[in-house]
Each structure stands twice: as C-alpha cells, then as structure tokens.
Symmetry: C2
Subunit: 230 residues, 2 copies
C-alpha cells in the first residue's frame, strides 16, 4: 500500500514523449520497444496497449516533433510567411537530431503533417498563387518543407586515424580524382577556418530563397502548367 502512487498510468502521449526524449539522448536506432519500456519502468508488451506497433511509435514521434512548428504571423506576406514557417519547422527538426532521418523514412500523412502542408499551401493561395502553381511549388520545396535539405556534405564519421604518410597519399589521390569536390570543400573551409564543413543554415536559406524568388517570378508572370501566359 506504500506503493499506491508509485506509477502514474501510461498513455500514448507519455509513451511518445519518453520515446522522443530517449531518442534525443541515445539516437533513434537505440530506441527499442524493450529499452523504452525499461525506461518507463514497465514490461515491453505494456507499450502495445498505447501504440499499435513500432512503426506507429515512430510515426507518433515524428508527429511530436512536427507539433513543435509555430504558425506564422498571418500579417506576413506569402513569402515571409512561408519562409518563417519553414524555418520554424527547421528549428523543430534540428532540436531532435534523429528527426531528419525519421521524417525521410515515413510517408504516413498524419493530421500534423497535413496541417503543416495545408498551412503552407494556404499561404501561397492567399498570396495570389493559382491552385495549379501552388501545387507545383509545394512539390518544388520538397523536403525543405520540413526544414531540412540533404546531408550531402556532412562530416563523415571518423574512421581509425591513419599515419601521416598514409593520409598524405590519400589526400593526393583524392585531389587528383575529385579536383572539383576538393576545390569547393576547401573553399568552404577557408571562408570560415574556425569550422570545417559548411554553414548549413546559410546553405538552407540560400536554396530556400532561391526557390521563393523563382516562385514569385512565376507568379507575377502568370505561369501555368498549361503553358506560358495561359
């Protein structure tokens, strides 16, 4: 009886919140039903009373992250509004290192996902985009709608260290085989020697604004998929 209050009952929200916290700490790939259950002081099968399957759990976790997106100030024009909302999505995703990959691997259109898409489409429409053009620009934004673009240039995980000689030989071969890759990689590092690699935030906004500017041009030109000036 001393144990009366020893555990508040589980719920879907509690399970999802714990899963998100666990993934934040140890990475998604380390989140197993067994480990999550252990973390909640419960037996693995107990989770299935609140979550249909591990897939459902992952979907729910993505929803939690996407639920952190803040709506844009309705006073903003379409361009600033879309920009603000996308950047808010980006902040949400960056808060959870695993989220990017998790979103990429799911396709379920949950209410949260649909609400986000609807809000963006609504801003285009209110900004004077035709239904047709809205459709295409949503496609063009692609993953950027979630606030991320791919990890092409990310630091690779460090392997075991090589001897200086080996390393030098490797670099030399590299420069010869992939001169342009080396060129742009070193340029990026030189621009800000403090940090190797790229300023992801800059790259993201660069591409985003390039697209938004392109959208605006098509809008003012009255672009339609049926052909020019239709």
């Amino acid at each position: 009886m001393a144990e009366r209050t020893r555990r508040t009952p589980l719920s879907r929200d509690r399970v999802l919140a714990a899963a998100v916290r666990l993934a934040d700490e140890v990475g998604v790939e380390a989140v197993s039903m067994r480990r999550l259950a252990h973390e909640l002081g419960v037996v693995p099968m107990a989770l299935y009373k609140h979550v249909a399957s591990k897939d459902d759990l992952l979907d729910g976790m993505v929803d939690v992250v996407l639920g952190e997106i803040e709506p844009a100030d309705p006073a903003l024009g379409w361009q600033d509004g879309v920009r603000a909302r996308v950047l808010s999505a980006r902040r949400a995703v960056l808060r959870h290192a695993w989220a990017r990959r998790a979103i990429e691997s799911r396709t379920r259109r949950t209410p949260t996902v649909l609400a986000h898409m609807d809000a963006l489409a609504g801003m285009f429409r209110a900004g004077g985009f035709s239904v047709d053009l809205t459709h295409h620009v949503m496609h063009a934004l692609g993953n950027r709608i979630w606030g991320f673009s791919p990890e092409l240039f990310e630091e690779p995980p460090r392997g075991e260290p090589l001897s200086p000689a080996e390393q030098e030989a490797l670099v030399a071969e590299f420069v010869q085989r992939y001169p342009h890759v080396v060129e742009i990689a070193t340029a990026a590092t030189q621009a800000d020697p403090a940090r190797a690699g790229c300023d992801e935030q800059f790259e993201f906004e660069f591409a985003l604004d390039l697209l938004l500017d392109g959208f605006e041009r098509l809008r003012t030109a009255g672009w339609s998929s049926a052909g020019p000036g239709a």
Copy 2:
C-alpha cells in the same frame, strides 16, 4: 565429381548484383543476409567473405545503382549538361524502387558518389561558376543531385476498404480541415484524370529547371556569398 562445376565462386560483384536483383524483386527491407545467402545457394556466413557487414552490403548496392549513371555529353553547356546528368541519375534510381530510400539513409562517400559529385561540380565550374557559387548551388540541388525529390505526395498504402458512408464522412472532414491540400490534390487529378496523383517527372523537372534558371541568374549577376557584386 558430377558436382564439380555446380557453382561458380562468389565475389563481391556477384553478391552485390544478387542483392540488387533481390531488392528489385522483393524490396530492400526483405533483403536479409540469410535470404540473400539462400538465394545464392550458400550459407549466410559465406557472404562475409565478400562484404564486411550488412551496412557495407547496402553501400555497395547503392554504388551499383549510382554506377548506372551515364556521363553527360561534354559538348553540352553547363545547364544542359547538369540537367542531362541529373536526369540520368534519376533514371537509374527509378529503375530500382528501393534505391531512393537507400540513398537517403547512407552517408558514405564512396568513389562512385564522389565521382558523380565531381562531374557535376566540374560542369558548373566549366560553365563559368565561381568556386564559391558552385559550392552553394551544389547544396541547393541537394537530393535532386541523385535524381529524386521527396515523396510528399505519393500514394499512401491502401488500408482496408471503408464503407461508402465512412468514406464520405472522412472526405467531408478532410475537406474542412485541410481545404488547400484537397484543392491542390484534386487539381492535379483533374488535370489528368486517368491517373490519380501527380506527374512526378514533371514536378521533378519543374523544380530542377527553376533552380537551374536561378543559378544562371546568380552567375550572370556575379553573385558571391560575400555580398552583392563582390
């Protein structure tokens, strides 16, 4: 002794080729070391003589797909050249339904990956792009470098069929909650009623050309990340 020639020996290439074929037929998620070994008439552990781990296997499979990319005609200008190479990558990826997701989930820069990136960067450079701008446009292309953009609008897997009444209620709620999503989705279907969903190829080229045109504008303007006109 009648069995002398019953099996040509395995090799990394044979293993990878079989894995790709198997993934084409049954999907990547169904490709396990055990099943792949079985398919090759061999015991699971035999694969490890040719492949370091399952991760290595996946990397190798991606490499096989990316190896199908054809180099662009060097006579083409940068814009047509980049366009051609990217569309060739797209064709390669579409040939293997699982490849899109597999590429997204790997970050290893294999020689094939680097060669592709180098070829693209080289075309930008030859087309008069500064190192700086080349770097940023490569980022902006993002996943499109692999010939795909995300699957936002893809058909969801069909669940169990609902009664007409249920379905109608669902649609009604949907229309009310996500009016803009419905709007653009139905527009797409009406444009070509034969097929629900979107013309992915059109959407891809739409976004690609939007970006390429934007790149060209920046190039002629002498854009630099240091600021306008630098």
